[in-house]
């Protein structure tokens, strides 16, 4: 194990007493608790940690946090994850990490051969080649080379993902100086505050700098502020929590990566806040010049963070390259820990005195730039020159700290649809007009010095609380020193020496200034074109450090100000989030709840094969005897219904009680046929149309009394019909006096059917007069059945004599058990949906999922009698007329008998003229084996079908044609004598 040669003896937020062992690219190392993988490797002097995406150039660590654009790793073993920036991996015992995108290792990568072909691989080269013979010859190789990591194995996740909803008055994003002040101000007014910070500990930028607040180390102020917040009941504080999406209506999504609750792996919060304070800080951007990507080239602020937070010296002899004053503090910090500062290369001609005063004795090269670097696997030196031409001078160094200016992190603000403007002083885009109740504070609002951050946070926090209707005063900002004034010179890239310069603007995707110029030269001139052409900003880091330089480079090339170029759209997530974190516990039956009737348990206990029916109802398909195949079971059930006695559970049918003086008017408007002339105690089959004339639903509805009806709908459409009815009443006819009560689940039923049904009802025991005279077909009667209060309806979906026994849901099991007990000696057979399908096909009864496919109306279906000619109006009446007024031939419901009586065909199979392979003239809607007819029977829709009875038509399947003859669509008891008996 290598020694930690670059670790400082003192300082940092790490715990030297707790060493942690880890492996990186197969080698063993140790680090300290509090380290990231990046800081631990730097402590060992490890610099070559990655290979770039396209050219496989050696890369190192550039930043210290989420913004890292160069080094990505995947974790193996128990902590498996896909690729993530090396700077965001917290060191843990047993951590195994591997650089992505290189083989066999980052140190020695075979694909570095790509560099030999670099000239052939400019941006968008693949659009110009790989065409012959076709793309798919090359694709498998490209796919294998692309994709950074392997997909992680989700079974290794220990604990669950949880999601929750949260409401608060003020959401503060970021617990840096501005965020802490905002939270204090808001919380002290009594407002409910949620403070979400992405770091492992609060403090934000203060963790990486040597700042003093109120005369003491800044971290002491942070601890005190946090202690006060944690003691308040109205404050909830989250750590390692990234606010990654800002949606409409002030909904912000926050995901905690490591909640303290045992058993919870990650927790997502859907936060609805009255006000949001965005205190997300600012990110430093790099400078762009030839070979700016070598290991050892880092952001100056990252160097500072490694020194102060992780007690690591990222190099021994440093050069700083800057266009603003913040780098001077970094230089001073470097010297204080023994890093030799060879020179500060400042692009500005005039160096502010307060900046220079921080580094007495250091050579400052004003109006100079770094034009190139040396060192294959690690930086060995830089070449500097005067900005406006000049000879190159080499300075030996192993660390180059870049400070190109600061970008306020306006991502969330932009996601909220707030507009941005370009601030010339900062050379960055800042928040302009908010579109939702939110505000940026501190560095996120372009205030780069500490006193301004503290004051701004305090004020904005109070403003937010006030807008949420709380009162108070702003927290008093503690004292702090401002540091050198910020004056940034715009320097989007150093002027290239030649066309072959490799000045990287997007490190992750190997996009250079030359690539951007190529894109513009070829006419891809909008900023979005450049992004898509070069893929700049489309990597995991989503261009956090690079996008502004892309914009600036375009601006320079086109002679526009940066605001004239604009930015590409800021899209959520701010940083990648696990899919599991969004799903939480939703899944399986939580995602799609089953709907059961009270009989489900009985069905399962008696071997029913359960199927998913419409609207998520779980229904029995058939009840096979042990070893009995499907077709045999269905045949047996059908025989029981036609010849003897059977029962099925019809509870899922939609049921609605309609009451009020205008109830009859409602039914007359809903249905195509007349209902207002129905007698009490009688029902009628009706069809509902949508107003544009499509069949919405069918069902039997009953009149229970004056102004009192029971509407029943199909199982699958109950919700849709309910919506349709309520819409009609509340929006179109609010003056009508009608109330609808859904009673689908309140009533369960057992429907007894078959020739023995009446006799059986008597055996079961009832006080209802069952004679045909007293209780005709379509009647509804109240009374006792099997000792239970019941409504009994004589409706039949099977074509046999039927009694639908409706009882209160709590009595359903008792009813069913009594039916089965009394029916056992008589051969009572429970029947499932498969048999029901056969029985209704034999009768030619409609099924909405089969015959009704959007092209037919009730008249086409042979139900002309149901379309009232008396009623002046009903929903869909005019649409029906308008549709039929066109000359188009109509498809009509017919029966089909295949030439081979045993032949079943696929439901949905088209009928084509002469069986030719062409557009259809109809289709087979249902095809079943009919026990009653001892042959297969089918229903279908056929153009002009009713005029073609007796004709031969052709079912066209993939490789064969089946002949069939057209018949009337009913194969059993066409006069309906059985159900009326």
């Amino acid at each position: 194990m290598a020694a930690e040669s670059m670790r400082l003896d003192q300082g940092g937020r790490i715990d030297r007493a707790r060493t942690i062992a880890f492996t990186f690219n197969g080698r063993n190392y140790t680090g300290c608790a509090g380290d990231t993988l990046a800081s631990a490797l730097l402590a060992h002097g490890e610099r070559l940690t990655a290979r770039s995406f396209k050219y496989h150039r050696p890369r190192g660590i550039t930043g210290a946090g989420q913004e890292e654009p160069s080094s990505f790793v995947e974790l193996l073993g128990d902590h498996q994850s896909g690729s993530q920036p090396i700077t965001t991996v917290q060191l843990r015992d047993g951590l195994q990490a591997r650089s992505v995108n290189c083989w066999p290792s980052a140190r020695f990568d075979l694909l570095a051969l790509n560099q030999l072909f670099a000239r052939m691989l400019p941006a968008a080269f693949y659009y110009k080649t790989f065409m012959w013979p076709n793309w798919q010859v090359y694709e498998p190789h490209i796919r294998r080379a692309a994709g950074l990591s392997f997909a992680p194995d989700a079974d290794r996740v220990v604990g669950t993902y949880e999601t929750r909803h949260w409401h608060c008055d003020v959401l503060v994003v970021g617990a840096g100086p501005a965020g802490l002040m905002a939270a204090l101000s808001a919380a002290r007014t009594g407002a409910r505050v949620l403070l979400a910070d992405d770091g492992t500990e609060p403090g934000g930028s203060l963790l990486g700098r040597k700042e003093q607040i109120d005369g003491r180390a800044a971290i002491e102020w942070v601890n005190a502020a946090v202690a006060e917040l944690d003691a308040m009941a109205n404050v909830t504080r989250l750590s390692q929590a990234c606010a990654w999406a800002y949606r409409e209506a002030n909904l912000v999504v926050v995901t905690e990566r490591a909640p303290s609750t045992p058993g919870i792996f990650q927790r997502s919060w859907r936060v609805r806040a009255l006000q949001v304070v965005i205190a997300t800080g600012a990110l430093e951007r790099p400078l762009v010049f030839h070979d700016n990507d070598r290991p050892g080239v880092m952001l100056a602020s990252a160097v500072q963070t490694y020194i102060h937070r992780y007690a690591v010296r990222p190099g021994r002899r440093a050069v700083l390259f800057t266009n603003n004053s913040s780098a001077y503090e970094v230089a001073a910090d470097m010297r204080s820990v023994g890093i030799e500062v060879a020179a500060i290369v400042d692009a500005r001609a005039a160096i502010p005195a307060d900046a220079a005063a921080l580094v007495p004795g250091v050579e400052i090269l004003a109006a100079h730039v770094v034009a190139a670097t040396d060192g294959r696997r690690s930086l060995t030196g830089v070449h500097v020159r005067a900005r406006v031409d000049g000879a190159l001078r080499r300075i030996r160094c192993d660390l180059l700290a870049l400070s190109g200016g600061w970008n306020p992190v306006v991502h969330l603000f932009s996601q909220s649809r707030g507009t941005l403007r370009f601030d010339a002083g900062l050379s960055a885009f800042v928040a302009d007009h908010a579109q939702q109740p939110c505000e940026c504070a501190g560095a996120a609002d372009g205030r780069l010095d500490l006193p301004a951050c503290l004051a701004d946070g305090a004020e904005k926090g109070l403003d937010a609380a006030r807008r949420a209707r709380f009162t108070g005063t702003a927290a008093a900002a503690p004292s702090a020193s401002a540091g050198p004034a910020h004056g940034t010179l715009a320097l989007w890239h150093v002027e290239p020496a030649g066309a072959s310069d490799k000045a990287f603007v997007d490190l992750q995707h190997d996009v250079t200034v030359a690539d951007i110029h190529l894109s513009l030269r070829e006419g891809y001139g909008a900023v979005e074109h450049v992004k898509r052409y070069t893929t700049a900003g489309m990597g995991i880091d989503q261009g956090k450090t690079g996008n502004i330089n892309v914009v600036g480079t375009i601006a320079m090339a086109q002679g526009l100000p940066p605001e004239g170029v604009g930015t590409t759209t800021f899209r959520s997530p701010y940083a990648p989030v696990d899919f599991g974190a969004m799903a939480g516990a939703r899944g399986g039956p939580v995602l799609l709840p089953y709907r059961h009737t009270p009989i489900t348990a009985w069905n399962i206990a008696h071997g029913a094969v359960m199927v998913e029916a419409g609207a998520r109802w779980r229904r029995p398909g058939y009840y096979p005897r042990p070893g009995e195949p499907l077709q045999d079971a269905v045949n047996r059930e059908c025989s029981a219904v036609r010849e003897n006695l059977a029962v099925y559970d019809g509870s899922p049918l939609g049921k609605f009680e309609i009451r009020g003086p205008d109830a009859a008017r409602l039914l007359d408007l809903l249905y195509t046929n007349l209902f207002s002339n129905l007698e009490a105690g009688m029902g009628r089959y009706g069809i509902m149309l949508s107003d544009d004339g499509l069949i919405l639903d069918d069902g039997v509805s009953f009149k229970l009394g004056v102004g009192h009806y029971l509407v029943s709908t199909s199982t699958g459409n109950a919700e849709e019909v309910y919506r349709h009815m309520e819409h009609l009443l509340q929006i179109e006819r609010p003056e009508w006096k009608v109330r609808i009560t859904p009673v689908t689940a309140a009533w369960a039923n057992a429907t007894v059917c078959g020739p023995q049904a009446r006799a059986f009802m008597a055996t079961l025991g009832t006080d209802i007069d069952l004679s045909n005279a007293a209780f005709p077909f379509m009647g509804l009667r109240h009374g006792q059945v099997a000792g239970l209060p019941a409504r009994v309806a004589r409706v039949s979906f099977t074509g046999e004599l039927s009694f639908e026994i409706n009882v209160r849901a709590r009595d359903a099991i008792a009813l069913w058990e009594r039916v089965m007990a009394a029916g056992a000696p008589l051969g009572m057979t429970p029947v499932g949906s498969e048999a029901s399908h056969v029985l209704r096909v034999e009768k030619g009864f409609l099924s909405l999922g089969h015959e009704v496919d959007g092209t037919v109306d009730p008249i086409d279906l042979g139900l002309g009698w149901i379309v009232s000619k008396q009623k002046p109006d009903y929903l869909g009446k005019r649409a029906l007329e308008i549709r039929r007024s066109s000359a188009k031939p109509r498809r009509e419901l017919v029966g089909l008998l295949m030439e081979d009586p045993a032949r079943l065909v696929i439901e949905g199979a088209p009928l084509t003229p002469n069986g030719a392979r062409q557009a259809s003239e109809g289709f087979v809607s249902a095809s079943v084996w009919s026990v009653a007819n001892r042959r297969a029977v089918a229903l279908g829709l056929l153009t002009n079908g009713r005029r073609r009875i007796g004709e031969t038509v052709y079912v066209r399947m993939k490789d064969e044609v089946v002949r069939a003859s057209v018949t009337a669509p009913c194969f059993y008891d066409p006069k309906g004598e059985k159900l009326r008996s």
Partner: protein, 416 residues
């Protein structure tokens, strides 16, 4: 138009790529053209190409209010297929797929066209019945669908570990559509634009049409833009989303509404899924791009919207649906997500049609319009050139609404 090839790439490498030609010009805007196409999206650019290529009509201006190819062509989920239900629809999409098959060669632009196949994962009987009906109808029009057993589905999609017999909605089987393909969507826009430009068509970006103009005879006479008036005897509105915003400037109301559709991508990972995966029963579909990102889409938002934003509930539903069948993806990360506006007609089928205003054509209602780009352009070009619909788009005329002759692809009820 300089040819793209390995040879031209190598030759240009020698001069550090300083000499590539512009893919399209930025000419000055003239006062008059023979044809104005409003919208430089997939359909608009394809139409421009085919107007020139098939009909010799080149005095054409494509007017785009933003950046070329910046609409839905820039943000869709690249599923090319022809597995439709109705006799009216299938031939159109079969044509589109066949045009796509040869498009890289025709445009001399690598579209990275990958004939992947699509597999529908079926979890309910009604859906199985619906797909079988499609299968047999498709067969009569030259498109292929084949049944797959559960085992075959799992073999082709190894990462499909959910949907087992004890799960909430066990997989019943699958349907394979070998004709299906994906490609790089930006390349389609750029390829058509480059070809159209080469044939003389002009593309004008940052040119927003503010109103349509009629002459004294009631026919279309041109458009008003932010850069002045431009006259033309034929104008086509091919803008998606904003169709009614433009047509209502001339009092033309259409049976379409604008909705938001979203999608998202994961971090890039090594090859995981080789086919296009569609899960119609739970509402999610997944493709893996050549860069390794999984591209995932779900249902559209309900309600009118021009916002192109994410609705958290709709997004979560898509994620949950995906994890239901691919529980292994829990630990994969979301990298980017976006929305787009599309318009959808009353019967959810497209509209490619003349209008009651002479010389004004509209192509709209594309819900799943990426796969239709070549055929949409091909047929709209025919319509514009001949003022007669190509047989493939006769069912998609505005006229169908006169008698409520809906072409109902999605379900048996109209889109709400």
């Amino acid at each position: 138009m300089e040819r793209y090839s390995l040879w031209s790439l190598a030759r240009n490498a020698l001069t550090h790529h300083q000499n590539w030609q512009r893919a399209w010009r930025s000419p000055p805007l003239k006062a008059e053209y023979d044809v104005i196409i409003i919208g430089a999206g997939g359909h608009g650019l394809a139409t421009a190409h085919y107007l020139a290529r098939n009909h010799g009509i080149t005095n054409v201006a494509v007017l785009e209010r933003g950046w070329l190819g910046g609409g839905n062509i820039a943000r869709n989920t690249v599923t090319i297929r022809s597995n439709y239900l109705r006799d009216e629809s299938i031939p159109f999409y079969v044509k589109s797929v066949s045009l796509f098959d040869d498009l890289t060669r025709e445009l001399n632009f690598n579209l990275m066209y990958s004939k992947r196949s699509m597999i529908d994962i079926v979890q309910t009987s009604p859906k199985m019945r619906d797909l079988r009906r499609r299968m047999l109808n498709m067969h009569n029009h030259g498109s292929t669908y084949e049944s797959l057993s559960v085992e075959e589905v799992r073999q082709r999609i190894p990462s499909l570990t959910g949907g087992g017999p004890d799960s909430r909605l066990p997989i019943l089987g699958g349907m394979l559509h070998p004709d299906a393909a994906t490609c790089r969507h930006d390349a389609v826009a750029w390829g058509f634009a480059r070809s159209a430009d080469d044939q003389g068509v002009e593309m004008h970006q940052n040119t927003a049409v503010t109103a349509l103009l009629r002459g004294p005879d009631g026919r279309i006479s041109g458009v008003e833009t932010n850069r002045g008036t431009v006259r033309a005897a034929k104008v086509a509105v091919v803008v998606s989303g904003h169709t009614t915003t433009i047509t209502e400037t001339i009092g033309l109301r259409l049976p379409i509404k604008t909705i938001n559709l979203t999608a998202f991508v994961s971090e890039p990972v090594k090859p995981l899924i080789d086919v296009i995966v569609n899960c119609p029963d739970i509402g999610v579909y997944i493709i893996q791009s050549d860069r390794g990102e999984l591209i995932i889409g779900g249902a559209n938002d309900l309600g009118l919207s021009f916002r192109r934003d994410i609705k958290q509930s709709v997004f979560e539903d898509a994620v949950v649906a995906m994890l239901e069948l691919f529980p292994a993806f829990k630990r994969l990360k979301l990298m980017r997500q976006w929305g787009g506006t599309l318009d959808i007609a009353h019967d959810a089928s497209p509209i490619v049609s003349r209008t009651p205003i002479g010389g004004l054509y509209v192509s709209a209602g594309w819900w799943g319009g990426f796969k239709a780009v070549p055929a949409g352009g091909y047929t709209l070009a025919h319509l514009i050139a001949k003022d007669e619909p190509h047989p493939l788009i006769e069912p998609f005329s505005l006229e169908r609404f006169r008698h409520l002759d809906f072409v109902l692809e999605s379900g048996t009820t109209t889109a709400r």
